[in-house]
Structures are given as C-alpha cells and as structure tokens.
C-alpha cells in the first residue's frame, strides 16, 4: 500500500501529532510555577487551607472561628498518613497551611523538609498536658504540637472470649477460641498488627533489627485465619455480634460500648501504643500568620473541651478529664479508661529502613486471611 503519492503522508501527520504534547509541555513550563511561596506573607490572606483527617474538627468551633476572624478554613481530607506524606512530597502538597500528621510520621515528614519549624513564642503551650510534650517522636516539639491522642486497645465481648483480656497474649489466645475465631477485627495499619506480636516477645517495635520484625510473620499469618475484617471499625458490627473482638482505639470502643454496654475495653499489657495526632505547619505555607492564629484559637480551653466532646478523643489541655460536662456518657472512656499510664505506652516512629518490612507482613497477613 504505497503512500508516496499522497500529498500529506501518514508519517508527517503522526509526527505533527507528537509535537503537540511537546508544545504543551513548553507552554506549561513557562507559566508561573507551582505555588511554592518560599517566604511567609506579611499580610493575612483570606484563606486557610487545612489538610486533615475526616471530620476532625467540631463544626461549631469552625463556625465560631469563621465568625471571629472572617475566614472559613478550607478542609481537605486524607485517610492515612502515607497519603499525607505522598501528597506533601509532590506537586499536590503546595498550598496547604496546616496539616495534621500522626506522631509516627512526624520525623519522616520533617526529615524530608516538608514541615516548618514551630516558633514556640507564638504558641501558648503552658496549659497543655506536659506529659504529652517532648516525646520520642518529636523531641522539643520542633515541628508539632499535640492536637489529640489515642491508644491502641481491644474492645471485646467477655461472654464470647470466656473471660477477661489483660495482655496481648490473651488477645491472641482468645482469637483461636471457637466463639471468637472468624469474628475478629484487626487494624490495617502495619505497625499495629506487627507491634503486638513483637510486644508479646518483649521486643520494641521501634527496633532497627529487621530479623526481629520478620520473625513475627509466621505467627501472624497463622493467626490471620481467625480474622474477619481489616476494614474500618464498625460499631454496628460489634453491636450485632458479627465482630466479638476488635483492635480499636478508645473512641471507637466507646462508640461500640454506647451501642452495646456489655462490651469491655482494655489497653493490653505489657505495653501498647500511644499515638498523638498533631498540628504542623507545612513548609512554604501560603499564610503562616493565619496558621498560627488558627492554632492559637485551637489551644484555647473552651475549644479544647468542645473538640474533646465532639471527637471522642482527648485534646491536649491539662486536666481535661475533670472538666468534662456531666451529660457526656462514658466520659472516662474518652481518656482510655480509669487506669491509663501514659508512661507505660510507646509511640511508633516510622523508619524508612524497617517500615517496608512491616508493610510486607501486613500484606501477607491480609492475603492469608482471605485464603
């Protein structure tokens, strides 16, 4: 099929088509670059962009802030820290003022230069619970201030488990029992799956020894067949008895217990997780002054109290427990129950050398559960 007689050859047309995207590139590259404003603006803009977990601020407080300062914050959401990290580490991270990373990721995100160092002169940290400050995940609170905190625990039906659960070993043992097997919820966060398996051996989940971490794989994949779901915690499932034992934080547990009062909550020994979701300011935030203004507003005692009641997680104010209004049901559950000793708890710090191994094991466990 000769094409030489044609006035416009096929090759020429396809060649022109290939040039079009190149032209588009050049046009895009010469337009103003992605919004990375290196210097903080001296004047307050009329926008505040917050990147946070879903439904993580009380609507009333946000409305009150908007009324007082005339700015309604624009809220975007993520469902895990990994997404936060991916976005901040890319072109999509430009333009956020405030982000809310979990304690485990603060070191990784700040090491990559994605967070502003906080100016403590502009923030009043005196009223905060001092045991929440200066912890291993952010010494000196260089990059973050605590927003709220939570614990990794277990909520369970004592009738089904045939007794109380006091340690992680009890948790794993109960899982194999006939009434419990197939009705367990475990978390999809890799460190919260592998962590307990390390703790029952007396090991530290912040270990740098990959062999220790890999050593939990067989045990966990063996346990996987008892697990029904790794999805979001569903209080309704616990109320109906579809799930009788679940890894959960205290707020989830409280929701379940409000629906089904015979459920019990425990923070198993020998140790468990304390996570602290924290306020940070993204590097190159378009309006740093507005960010500090919002943070100051969040740190005022009334707001701290309101947020605690709204979220079901304790904010970071000192002595919150005694200030809880009486109409809040199961209020001590918000704080993890009566006997919580923050000193006995450990916070995870994501280490790029070991974290992929954690995730590998999580993949294997989830695969084994569905087999």
């Amino acid at each position: 099929m000769s094409s030489s007689a044609h006035p416009v050859s096929r090759r020429a047309v396809l060649g022109a088509a290939a040039l079009a995207p190149v032209a588009a590139f050049l046009a895009a590259c010469s337009s103003p670059g992605s919004g990375s404003s290196g210097t903080a603006s001296a004047k307050l803009t009329s926008q505040l962009n917050i990147y946070t977990w879903p439904d993580y601020f009380s609507k009333d407080d946000l409305a009150a802030y908007a009324k007082k300062y005339g700015v309604t914050p624009k809220i975007s959401t993520y469902t895990d820290n990994n997404t936060l990290y991916t976005k901040l580490n890319s072109a999509a991270g430009a333009g956020y003022d405030i982000v809310v990373p979990s304690s485990s990721w603060i070191k990784q995100i700040s090491d990559k230069g994605l967070l502003e160092e906080l100016d403590h002169d502009r923030l009043n940290l005196k009223n905060l619970d001092q045991s929440l400050l200066n912890r291993n995940y952010d010494p000196g609170n260089k990059y973050s201030i605590p927003k709220d905190w939570g614990l990794l625990g277990v909520v369970y039906d004592p009738d089904a488990t045939g007794g109380e659960i006091k340690t992680w070993q009890d948790f794993f043992d109960a899982g194999a029992k006939p009434n419990v097997s197939g009705r367990i919820r475990m978390t999809s966060a890799a460190e919260e799956t592998v962590g307990p398996a390390l703790w029952i051996q007396g090991k530290d989940w912040n270990t740098k020894k990959i062999s220790d971490i890999e050593g939990t794989a067989d045990f966990l994949t063996g346990f996987a067949k008892h697990v029904k779901t790794f999805s979001a915690f569903d209080a309704n499932a616990m109320a109906s008895g579809a799930i009788v034992m679940a890894q959960a934080n205290q707020a989830y547990a409280r929701n379940a217990i409000l629906l089904n009062p015979k459920l019990k909550w425990v923070v198993p020994g020998p140790t468990s997780e304390l996570w602290v979701d924290s306020f940070s300011i993204a590097k190159g935030a378009p309006d740093i002054d507005r960010a500090y203004q919002f943070l100051e507003y969040q740190l005022t005692p009334t707001v701290q109290l309101n947020e605690t009641v709204y979220l079901g997680y304790p904010a970071s104010l000192k002595g919150l427990k005694s200030k809880m209004p009486s109409n809040v049901k199961q209020a001590d559950l918000i704080f993890g129950g009566p006997n919580v000793d923050l000193g006995k708890l450990t916070s995870f710090v994501v280490n790029p050398d070991t974290y992929p191994t954690f995730q590998d094991i999580q993949n294997k466990v989830q695969a084994a559960a569905g087999a």
């Binding site: 096929r10 047309v13 990994n82 999805s231 109320a239």
Partner: protein
C-alpha cells in the same frame, strides 16, 4: 480491485486516509501527554532502586524478581479468577436484560434503558456503602430473609468474597447491559425473519443468528467488565473486609504504604504485559472475537454499488 471508478475511488480514498490519520492523531496526542508519558515514568522507575518515596534511577531487575515472587503471583491469579468469574456472571445476568431492552421493549425502549441506567447515576460509594448496610449481620436483608423463612442463622456474608462479587456485579451490570444493548439493537429484523422463513425454531435462530451477530457486544461487555475488575480497589475493602489481597491493593500498598515506587512500577509493567498477552491470545483464538463475519472495518474491500 475493480479498475472502473478508479479516479473517483482513489481520490475518495486519499481523502479518507488522510482524514483518518488526522482524526486518529487527536486522541493519540491527548493520551500521549496525559497517559503515555506518565506511564513512561513508571517503566523507567521499574528498573530503579527505591528510596522511601523516591526512586534512584538505574538498571536493576530486582523489582521484577520480587514482583514475580510467590505472594504476588498468587495474588494475580486470585484476582484474575475473581475478575473472570464476576465478569462472566455479569454477562449472563446482563444478556437477557439487554435483549429485552433492545428487541422486546418496542415503544418503551427508553424507559427500559432508563430503569437500568438510573441506579448507575447514584454515587458508587454510596451504593457500595448501602450494600454494606444491606448485607450486614442484623441488617435489612437478613431480617427480610428470616421473615420469609429462607434463613435461620445470622447472615455472615459481609466481609467475604461472595459479598465482593455481589457488589461488583451490582456496580458493573449497567455497563455490560449498555455494551450488549447497543449491538443487539442493530441486528436487522430481516436477518431473523430469514432464519424463521428457512424453518429454524426460535431457539435455533437465537443460537445461530442472534448470538453470533452480538459477538461485538459480548466481547466489549466482557472487556469493559473483566479488565476494570482486575483493578478494583474500593469494593474489596468495603465489602470484603480488606482481606485476601487483590492485585490493586497489592500495587497500591507498594506505592502508598511502602512508598516503594520501583517495585510498584515493576508490578504494573508485568500486569500490563500479562493482560496484553491474554487479550492477544483471546483475539487470536476467536479470530478477532468481535468480527461479525462481514469484516466491516475494511472499507477498501467494501462492495461497490453498481451504477
């Protein structure tokens, strides 16, 4: 090649060929920028070494070795089985529906079509979330089945593969129906009448005339359901309890959770190759599985109308 009408035919063909190439270039250009170039990144990254959230370029086959390891191979096969099975079920479900709409609804064709399409207009997430409520233990479906005596124990279907299949079929059914209906719609009634005139029973007519003529629709429907099902991420998490690793979850875990762009990229390249091979085999096996037998896509061999 008929020699008469040479001048007009050649002139028409010239215009047609150029025009076709210009037309073909438009989608090519758009997709080159938006799809091929980013995918090129993926290809390049697949040979690199991963840094947490970044890739050092190089030439290494380590990622491919890992991607071909037992865990991911098993994941791929499991996902393939799921996609083929659910797609087949979807097609079987969809064919009679498409047939009813395309050939038996007379004046009510639009209404019938609308009845199938309207649910599709509601947000996918809400539909899947509603299936979560419907299939939950103690939920509406369990109560209904119990009240009519079909069920005597708790409904444990949620957070398992059957629930994922049900949800997947519910989501993909309208696409399959559309793909089938647009083809069934165009089978000329004369062909069917001819079959009857020659003495064929209705079922024989169906199997020897209608079914073969609907092959483009079946092929399209199979493709548009099975392939996206391979990449399905949301439904296995919401209805399957996030268990039994599906391929899209495995790949996503590499990119987002493990921040291992290199390994994720290798897995993607392998996936594309695997699907390409399978589809090519299918096309070879069924001799262009969408041809209706008249090779209508070859204008230069089209019959000339006399006069």
């Amino acid at each position: 090649m008929p020699v008469f009408c040479w001048g007009a035919a050649k002139g028409g063909r010239v215009r047609r060929n150029t025009g076709d190439h210009v037309l073909a270039a438009i989608p090519l250009a758009w997709l080159a920028v938006l799809f091929l170039v980013p995918l090129g990144f993926t290809l390049v990254y697949s040979f690199g070494t991963s840094g947490f959230g970044s890739v050092t370029l190089g030439f290494s086959l380590d990622n491919y070795a890992q991607a071909l390891g037992p865990l991911y191979l098993e994941t791929f096969l499991r996902t393939l089985a799921f996609a083929v099975g659910s797609s087949a079920a979807c097609l079987v479900f969809a064919y009679p529906i498409a047939y009813a709409i395309a050939r038996r609804s007379g004046r009510f064709k639009i209404v019938a079509f609308a009845l199938i399409l309207v649910p599709y207009l509601a947000s996918l997430l809400i539909r899947v979330m509603s299936w979560q409520i419907l299939l939950a233990q103690g939920g509406p479906l369990e109560r209904m089945l119990r009240s009519i005596g079909l069920l005597h124990s708790p409904l444990t279907i949620l957070d398992s593969i059957p629930a994922v299949v049900i949800g997947t079929i519910a989501v993909y059914l309208p696409i399959a129906v559309i793909a089938l209906a647009v083809v069934l719609d165009r089978i000329p009634p004369e062909v069917i009448e001819a079959g009857h005139d020659l003495g064929a029973s209705p079922s024989a007519t169906f199997f020897t005339v209608i079914l073969p003529l609907s092959r483009p629709g079946i092929a399209t429907a199979a493709l548009l359901t099975a392939v996206p099902m391979l990449g399905e991420l949301v439904i296995p998490v919401l209805l399957g309890g996030n268990k039994g690793l599906f391929l899209a979850q495995a790949i996503s875990a590499q990119y987002v959770q493990s921040q291992n762009y290199a390994l994720g990229s290798a897995m993607v390249v392998l996936l594309v190759i695997a699907i390409a091979v399978i589809v090519a085999l299918l096309v070879r096996l069924t001799r262009g599985f969408d041809a209706t037998g008249g090779e209508p896509g070859r204008p230069e061999r089209a019959k000339r109308v006399e006069g």
